[in-house]
């Protein structure tokens, strides 16, 4: 868990720790000054061991729950992060160089004209400069553990022996590279040395075994930077250290790789590299925290100060200035600001030239220039301005100067990967955050309940102490000592217990995954491998100090309350007379109004929901108090102390009802209601839902408990009217009414627990339902593959194309480790249309060949091709039609027949989804679109990040039948527009994997050449029972000439959805834990009730009430609370869920999550909770019923 209400957990933990420490310090001081009271307080502990144990257990439970939820959140975050960084290992930063425009190296400038698009080779001497810089900088040495020059290239590798093809990265490192980057060891654990490799030999990693079926001695072939290469596999490295990762990697000594590449004249000097790797101190994850400092320190080592000077000079040219001024209007506001800043620096008098133009210390201005010129939009603006001057020479010199000035980049790759992982893991940690908040609230209530009961129990003793001349301060101290002793015990037990619980839960879960129990069937098996239990120390500290602090505060409040006992009544243990609140309380409530108004104003000003909603709540509270004050000139104050019902006063009743209902209603409003009232959009996190839940529950129970007498009277009246006088019920009701405060808190607690159960189950059900299973998610396909038109024709014929993801949008892989971002893009220029067309043709021949091959039919049940490209789409029937970009995918007959992609909406006239797909493949006037194209309202000003800007209007997510919707597909690259009718919408769950407007192949052909080349993907469904790896190997070998590479979609599914599913199950286990808190509360209450009522029970027994009746009457009390709490909890839980899902809160993490109410599971858990609660009540009730009548009366 990283933040709570926007405050970093570490800070929060420190603050809580400090506050708890300060509170303990104050108490210690008092204890030292007043040892009698310390003794008095502490002596209470051993006096009633059973009660002490109960209190400690209750407090412990709440601390344990908070600890466990924080620790589990940590574990999951950590697991996601650890999975994300396996590929990088200890590599934290990479230095790369971008080739100048027009140079022979690297890719030609793209359409955008930015010459910095790809990284290229640079002299190995740069590494020496960086190494010297690190050596010279003591501070930097503390951050950096090691650095090495490296070559890292991507290519398609063919294993000529096993006849398999795979995308791989080739890495060359000096054999003596720093150990921090991890050793290479073979599968038996023996060290592998790069130095020992003969020329032409490479080491491959374990992942290559799966993808290429590689064995030592195999011959590999690939084309590297245009150079055909052949290698022999010397050894396979285990997936550890440098060999870790799921991608195929080849390792060889840097010098050998350089020699291979230098046979090609364009590769430059022999010692050229394309990367410098830098590892920070710390571990694979924590090292990233140093990235910012390291990047800041390394960057100046790489800047060419002379080139900066040149840029500066050029920027003073009048024609460029004029052109830039003319362009200003078309720039974004931010870019305008940066441009102004840049020009302002350029206008300053140039600094005196220094002898050494590169490396060393940069001036402050130099750093500013460097920082600004690294911004791509600004560079683009400058170059565009230069082009506007129509001075070709200026364009060239500026381009080169910019290039020289900022060509080297220090990329904080690890940090980027972690950021991506965190964003992906957010949905889980966010849910855990919500869970933690709710459990803190429930825990707080439990603590509160325990101490108000304790105060009630201590009342007469405290009265005597007061009579004997004990001051209020002493009394508070005494009671607080006792409470803090419980709290310390509870923290000492609760934190380890919570850690233990989360550990056990995880172990349980991993066991379930591995044994295939509970329907896991190995889905998350891979995740279980990587997930290890982990709890950040700050979480434990936060839980402990928070528990302690909450207890201290609660106990002090309770102590303050008791210290105000009316001595006479306390000694005799009679109810306190109603008293006028005095001092602060009498008028303090009026402060609610200005306070609330201030918060509302602040909320609007900052655009934050939290202060705004808190302000509204305060106002509502103020109104309630005002009503009750005006109502009977006495502020509402339930008499919670032992003994007597408060006289019902209408003002108090009206006030509590009004404020409670208003509070509940306000928080139950849909989250976008404020916007409909014309208020601005306010930002909020999931914390607000937790708060909403707590306040809804509190408001409802408050209102209800103020009117509890009416409700119970009604209940007992209707029972009597039904001819069944129920003395036990009446007794139970009377007891509940006698202590409205206690009843209210217990009900609130129980309702909160049920509320938590409900919300968690609904969210989990939504997540699980969404993740569905691999079959649904990948449309029934088992393998996905692609061919490379030039690949299998032998290594000599030309460079293979490195496959680039087509779909433009991220391929729905929120949790998968991103493909090594450090691998440079080496996509070679190809005549796009021809290459794409050739690929498509090749893919089609593969499908046709499978149909003819009986051998392959043993593995493959269905195969199809999906060819996708990016076009413009518009819907003329939309209110304001505009062209928007979208993927247009052509599918062949095989795909149409073989897929199981579910449609959430389909046009009338089609009996099945299958019918739609088959009609589509045959009829060029039809189309199907994915559900992501439907408009999705986002919670708070969500931004549409994707370039897939087309939205389809007029179809709702929930509708199942539709009329065909005509849309036009056009080509901004020239070519004709085509009209197609959309007759189906792909289910949201599948939509991310299958984005696009699906059309017949001839539609795509008719659209002409797209801006970016189309890509073809092959899909295979395997025969039932066929082994995935065997099938892949067979396909790879059969279509080796076509360079067919496949990936297992099941494996992909495991990587993507495994963690989420795992976390969902974890949550479900967790919710079971929360249950204990509710149960504990009822147990505590009943035990107390049984103790309190010894005498009364004795009398009842003497009068002739049977034991059973006594038990039943006590049980009934709990049952009433349980039923009321469950109804409130479930209702409000569903209300909150509806609100959360209505604003599609989870869309920021996972689009298309739909609310699913798992009624059966929900009712089952609630029934279980109720049953457990009744058992917890039954024990003390039974004990109470055994009280001998005489003893009870005598004892009084």
């Amino acid at each position: 868990m990283d933040t709570f209400f926007g405050i970093p957990t570490g800070t929060l933990a420190l603050g809580a720790l400090f506050a708890a420490g300060a509170a303990l310090g104050v108490l210690a001081l008092r204890a030292w000054r007043w040892p009698v009271f310390l003794r008095l307080g502490l002596r209470q502990l051993p006096r009633r061991p059973a009660q002490t144990a109960l209190i400690v257990a209750g407090l412990m439970l709440s601390t344990a729950l908070v600890t466990a939820s924080l620790a589990t959140g940590d574990t999951i975050t950590h697991a996601i992060r650890a999975a994300a960084v396996t590929e990088l290992g200890r590599l934290d930063q990479v230095v790369t160089y971008s080739a100048p425009a027009g140079s022979q190296q690297g890719a030609p400038p793209g359409a955008g004209g930015d010459p910095f698009a790809s990284s290229t080779f640079f002299p190995g001497e740069v590494f020496a400069r960086v190494a010297r810089g690190i050596e010279a900088d003591a501070a930097l040495r503390l951050d950096v553990e090691g650095a090495t020059p490296a070559i890292w290239l991507g290519c398609t590798v063919l294993d000529l022996t096993s006849r398999q093809t795979a995308t791989a990265s080739v890495r060359g490192l000096p054999p003596e590279y720093p150990p921090v980057f991890g050793a290479l060891v073979d599968l038996e654990g023996r060290a592998l040395s790069l130095a020992a490799l003969q020329p032409g030999e490479v080491v491959v990693n374990e992942a290559a075994r799966g993808a290429l079926a590689v064995q030592p001695g195999d011959d590999l072939s690939c084309t590297l930077e245009g150079v055909p290469v052949r290698w022999r596999v010397a050894a396979v490295a285990a997936a550890r250290g440098l060999g870790a990762g799921a991608g195929v990697s080849l390792f060889l000594p840097l010098a050998q790789l350089q020699r291979v590449l230098s046979s090609e004249p364009t590769a430059g000097a022999v010692d050229a590299v394309n990367q410098i790797w830098i590892a920070n101190r710390g571990d694979a994850i924590s090292g990233a925290a140093r990235s910012e400092r390291v990047v800041e320190a390394i960057r100046p080592l790489l800047v060419d100060a002379g080139a900066l000077q040149d840029v500066r000079q050029l920027l003073t040219r009048a024609d460029l200035r004029a052109a830039l001024a003319a362009r200003r209007g078309s720039l974004s506001e931010r870019t305008q600001g940066r441009l102004a800043e840049l020009l302002e620096i350029a206008d300053r008098p140039p600094p005196p030239a220094t002898g050494d133009s590169r490396g060393g210390a940069l001036s402050r201005e130099g750093r500013d220039l460097d920082r600004l010129l690294r911004i791509q939009s600004l560079r683009a603006a400058l170059l565009a301005g230069a082009r506007d001057t129509r001075d070709a020479e200026l364009v060239r010199t500026l381009g080169t100067a910019l290039q020289r000035a900022t060509g080297y980049q220090v990329l904080a790759v690890k940090r980027q990967v972690l950021e991506i992982a965190d964003r992906a893991g957010n949905v889980i940690t966010t849910i855990f955050l919500l869970f933690s908040l709710l459990s803190i609230a429930a825990g707080l209530l439990l603590v509160f309940l325990i101490f108000s009961l304790l105060a009630a129990a201590r009342r007469s003793e405290l009265g005597i102490a007061r009579a004997l001349g004990t001051g209020r301060g002493h009394l508070i101290a005494m009671f607080t000592f006792e409470g803090v002793a419980y709290a310390l015990l509870a923290a000492a037990v609760g934190v380890p217990a919570g850690l233990g619980i989360s550990r056990v839960l995880l172990a349980l879960l991993i066991w379930a995954v591995e044994s295939g129990a509970f329907g896991f069937s190995g889905v998350a098996a891979r995740v279980a491998d990587t997930v290890t239990w982990y709890a950040a120390p700050r979480s434990a500290a936060l839980a402990a100090s928070l528990g302690l602090l909450l207890t201290i505060v609660t106990v002090t409040v309770a102590a303050w309350q008791v210290s105000r006992v009316t001595i006479v009544t306390a000694i005799r243990d009679l109810p306190d007379p109603p008293s006028r609140p005095h001092g602060v309380l009498a008028w303090g409530w009026t402060g609610l109004f200005p306070g609330g108004a201030t918060l509302i104003a602040l909320g609007l000003r900052w655009g934050q929901t939290f202060p705004f909603a808190a302000g509204v709540s305060l106002l509502l509270l103020g109104c309630g108090v005002a009503v009750s004050v005006v109502g009977d000139r006495l502020p509402a104050r339930g008499d919670w102390r032992k003994g007597g019902a408060p006289r019902p006063r209408w003002g108090a009743r009206a006030g509590a009802t009004l404020a409670g209902m208003a509070l509940a209603a306000y928080w139950a409003l849909p989250f976008d209601a404020q916007e409909r009232l014309g208020l601005p959009r306010l930002a909020s996190g999931i914390e607000i839902f937790g708060l909403a839940g707590v306040l809804m529950v509190v408001g409802t129970t408050w209102a209800l408990s103020a009117n509890g007498d009416l409700a119970l009277r009604l209940a007992s009246w209707s029972l009597t009217a039904a001819g069944r006088p129920a003395p036990a019920l009446r007794l139970a009701a009377a007891h509940l009414l006698r202590q409205p405060f206690r009843t209210g808190v217990t009900t609130t607690m129980f309702a909160l627990v049920v509320f938590m159960l409900t919300v968690m189950q609904v969210i989990t059900a939504a997540a699980v339902h969404f993740q569905a299973d691999a079959v649904i998610k990948y449309g029934g396909w088992d393998l996905r593959g692609h061919v490379t038109a030039t690949a299998g024709q032998g290594p000599e014929t030309g460079p293979p194309e490195r496959p680039v993801p087509v779909d433009g949008a991220p391929e729905g892989a929120p949790l998968a480790a991103p493909e090594s971002p450090a691998a440079p893009a080496t996509a070679q220029a190809q005549p796009p249309a021809t290459q794409a067309a050739a690929d498509q043709h090749l893919a089609e021949t593969v499908v046709a060949a499978i149909a003819d091959s009986a051998d392959l039919q043993r593995y493959v049940a269905a195969a199809g091709v999906r060819t996708a490209a990016f076009f413009a789409v518009t819907q003329l029937s939309a209110p304001a039609p505009t062209w928007g970009g979208y993927v247009v995918a052509a599918i062949d007959e095989g795909f149409a027949r073989g897929n199981l992609i579910p449609l959430q909406t389909r046009a009338r006239g089609y009996a099945t989804d299958q019918a739609v797909w088959e009609a589509l493949a045959a009829d060029p006037s039809l189309a199907v679109i994915d559900a992501n194209a439907l408009p999705s309202p986002q919670l708070r000003g969500g931004i549409n990040l994707s370039t897939l800007s087309f939205t389809l209007q007029g179809i709702d997510d929930r509708q199942t039948a539709m009329e065909p919707v005509p849309v036009w597909i056009g080509n901004s690259n020239g070519g004709a527009a085509r009209k197609v009718s959309i007759v189906g919408v792909i289910d949201r769950r599948v939509a991310t994997a299958f984005r696009g407007v699906y059309v017949a192949p001839e539609v795509l052909r008719g659209l002409g050449t797209p801006l970016r080349p189309a890509t073809s993907r092959l899909f295979f469904r395997l025969q039932p029972g066929a082994d995935v790896n065997e099938a892949r190997a067979a396909l790879g070998a059969a279509f080796f000439a076509q360079g067919l590479q496949t990936e297992s979609l099941m494996e992909r599914f495991q990587n993507e959805s495994g963690p989420l599913i795992l976390a969902s199950r974890m949550l479900q286990l967790f919710v079971g834990l929360g249950l204990f808190v509710g149960v504990a509360a009822l147990g505590v209450i009943s035990t107390r009730a049984a103790v309190e009522r010894r005498q009364e029970i004795g009398i009842l027994r003497a009068i002739g009430l049977s034991r059973r009746r006594v038990t039943v009457s006590l049980l009934l009390e709990s049952a009433l609370v349980v039923v009321l709490g469950s109804v409130i909890g479930i209702t409000l839980g569903l209300v909150l869920c509806r609100n959360v899902f209505a604003v599609q809160f989870f869309d920021r993490f996972q689009q298309g999550l739909k609310m699913v109410v798992p009624w059966q599971e929900l009712l089952l858990t609630v029934l279980l909770t109720c049953a457990a609660a009744l058992v917890a009540t039954w024990l003390p009730a039974r004990q109470a019923s055994r009280i001998p009548p005489i003893a009870a009366i005598r004892e009084a």
Binding site: E461, I464, A467, L468, T470, R472, I567, P575, G644
Partner: protein, 261 residues
Amino acid sequence: MTTLPASPDHTRRVHTDGLGDDGLAGPGPAPGNGQTSRDLIVDARAVRKVYLGGDVPVDALRGVDFAVRRGEMVAIMGPSGCGKTTLLNCLSGIDSIDGGEIVIDGRPLQRMSDGALTRYRATSMGFVFQSFNLLPVLTAVENVEYPLLVANVGPREARWRALAALAAVGLEDRAGHRPARLSGGQQQRVAVARAVVTDPAIVWADEPTGNLDSASAADLMDLLRRLNQARGQTFVIVTHAREVGEQTDRIIRMRDGLVER
């Protein structure tokens, strides 16, 4: 016969609450001398108390006049519900009054703050309750020394004085026992020791024998009488038992919230 804790002059006591004037005002006159307001340790006039707790207000005290001389042992008697306990609670300042005036040892109670009242109770008043009301977590001697510690007496001196007080009530051998292990009569004697250990100006006892068998009750009354005579300790005892009343100097009879004349 045990010796009583030494107190050089029981009529001269030093008050720690800043009202030394009164306390140092020379030796008090012997009981039976002509009454002056100086001699009166309790002087209550027209005290009224109304309970608002129930559905109808209860006039528990309806203008009570009441006075006790220093060193006197007074019994308040009357039928159940006539307001005896209420009067005692009001006089001792643990309950508030709705009319009239109460002056204890020359100090008007109504004008004292809660803090001052608390301190005053700690230093100058002792209490004996019907149901003993010892603090159950403390041993006998700790119960007795408790008021001393509250009044900021040093721990050694407090322990010594508490043991002396326990000896005075004949329970020195039970000093280490918790209340639960003492009989009712013993518990009440501990309570008496606790009441007199601070050498208070006055000791209030509400039905001190109410929960005791007759033998223990007689023992307790002997003890109180002895303390009264040997140390000149003032006692105000509420009781409805005639035997108890007969042992005191004076009986005040109450009926329906009024003192009978």
